[in-house]
Amino acid sequence: MSLTVQTETPVIEVSHVSTRFGQAVVHEDVSLMVVRGEIFAIAGGNGSGKSTLLREIVGLLTPTSGEIRLFGRDSRELEGSDGQPLHRRFGVMFQGGALFSSMTLAENVAVPLREHTHLNARIIRDIVALKIALVGLPPDSAVKFPSELSGGMRRRAALARAIVMDPELLFLDEPTAGLDPIIADGFDQLLVHLKRLLGFTVVMVTHDLDTLWRLADRVALLGSGRVVGLGTMEELAHCEDPLVHEYFNGPRGRAARLQYAGTVMHQD
């Protein structure tokens, strides 16, 4: 009945998902939808189940009830051996980077290529070098081990590994948490730049309000296990719901919004 004509299947469809760990209820009837090409953010306070939802979407956890569809396919397929083609269509960047500590940066980035393609070593090296250059890391960092990289560089390296197969869908878990403001800004810009170049859909979990204002096309705010707000940042900022209002209109929320308004005016 909606006015927009939905010809394409949504990239992600989460319907009526509930999650319980023993007695603790993490999600209660969460539903949301991500369409192709958007930057979709899942926001919420600490412990609101953002990361758990992300882990369920990428198939690391199974929800207690409800259904999650990725590219129109049930995400439970990811567990089986026939989940390989589905795995290849998305990349995940974990919060701490989750780089394999026994491998150099270049070897880390090359893992999906080595496992999923039959390319020869030279082409793999070329693709890896391209992705390392795209995320803005210097070429000589390729032979370094994760323990030799700074936090910001590790984040970029993790992004390079996540996008190495040109995924259609990119998941980011707290991409800017723990980074200084300058590096975090740089990371936001990098993400927009890469999205324009490679054209992927982004789903990110974050509570960085600046990132939300600057990047997110749509935001789902989780609170007490439910989706309490869903829409663009403008819509959410004017939402009357007390939970949403509190989240986006606290001192930090207002500051981020003012700063965003400032940059928009600057660009005009």
Partner: protein
């Protein structure tokens, strides 16, 4: 996927990372570019990603280097964008990858590392010895609670496995000996065989090896994980010393636990031998025990028990030291734990050998 038609190369199909390998193989070499000019007809490519773009760009670069002018026809605009993205980053891609230092430099680094490692180990032993003197000077400052906890985990909880293993070792020694002794009709000497070898050498060694595997490795992993998660740094910011807090209680606990475990292992090992003696050699329990009294001098027991605290100190110090050496990430924890076990068993056996030589000099 590619077929040629008089200097016109038709490219088709999917040029994406999962599918590009055969195309890349076909394009390699100078076969296509031997004619000075080549046209690539690319309108039939229906999927293209950066992998395809890298393959194409590599082909273009090599063709141009070989003096062949390649023109691309009909590449979709979004694909052309990807190609130009690759071309604009070609500088970074084509540069030779930096390499790790070569062998000579690595050898030098390795030797320096080993030397620095030795210095660090010595410093650590020194620090620990100084810290342990405090046990006598100011016993109230020792973390007795950690000590007792460690005593339970590394001592009491090790009783079943140590007991079982030394019992079996006693059985094995008696079994092997029984065969030979029966030939000479000297059945009663089974007591000397089992008693002396177990009390003096085998029981302390078996206990030490077990404790190194059970507790030494656990120390390295525990302390290493604490280091990785910055818990040790937190401890230091409170003005506390990790040696006092973590190392000393463990060393003290093991020094108490290992001799006790050894004595217990002695009993079970000899009991194992006794069972076999009565079963295979008709040496009754009473005969065994009365012979034990005269054949096995007290010094054998004391030498075995006397070595145990030193074994304990070696194992605890090596485990804690290797744990503290972890610098990188979780990957190091596993490696350093392995090193701690190998090193502590190695050092225990070396120490045992030195003891044997010294004691035989002194006719003990």
């Amino acid at each position: 996927m590619t077929l040629v038609q008089d200097r016109l190369l038709r490219c088709q199909g999917s040029w994406t990372m999962p599918d590009i390998a055969p195309v890349e193989q076909a394009l390699r070499g100078s076969f296509w570019t031997q004619h000075g000019a080549l046209v690539l007809e690319t309108s039939d490519i229906h999927a293209f990603d950066t992998g395809g773009a890298v393959v194409l760009q590599r082909f273009l670069t090599e063709a141009r280097r070989g003096g062949c002018e390649v023109t691309i026809q009909g590449l979709r605009s979004e694909y052309a964008q990807l190609l130009s993205l690759v071309a604009s980053n070609w500088g970074a891609i084509a540069t030779d990858p930096p390499v790790r230092p070569n062998r000579g430099v690595r050898l030098e680094l390795w030797i320096r590392d080993r030397f620095a490692d030795m210095v660090r180990a010595l410093a650590f032993v020194g620090e620990s010895v100084v810290a342990s003197l405090r046990v006598f000077v100011a016993p109230s400052q020792v973390r007795w609670r950690t000590c007792l906890q460690s005593l339970r985990v590394d001592g009491v909880n090790a009783l079943p496995i140590t007991g079982l293993l030394t019992f079996l070792i006693g059985v094995v020694i008696a079994y092997q000996g029984a065969e030979q002794l029966r030939k000479f009709g000297t059945n009663i000497f089974i007591v000397d065989l089992v008693g002396i070898s177990l009390l003096r050498e085998i029981a302390p060694l078996i206990v030490a090896i077990l404790v190194a595997g059970r507790s030494g490795s656990a120390y390295a992993a525990q302390i290493g994980t604490m280091k990785v998660t910055e818990e040790l740094d937190a401890v230091k910011t409170f003005g506390l010393s990790p040696i006092d807090l973590l190392v000393l209680p463990r060393v003290v606990a093991l020094i108490v636990a290992v001799p006790l475990l050894t004595a217990y292992a002695d009993v079970l090992g000899v009991f194992g031998g006794m069972l076999i003696a009565s079963n295979q050699l008709n040496v009754s329990f009473t005969a065994f025990l009365s012979r034990f009294d005269e054949a096995v001098a007290l010094r054998h027991f004391l030498i075995g028990i006397g070595k145990a605290p030193f074994f304990a100190a070696i194992i605890a110090l090596v485990g804690c030291y290797q744990g503290l050496q972890i610098r990188g990430g979780v990957d190091d924890v596993g490696r350093q734990t392995t090193i701690s076990v190998v090193q502590s068993i190695f050092l225990v056996i070396i120490f045992d050998a030195i003891c044997s030589i010294l004691l035989s000099w002194w006719d003990l």
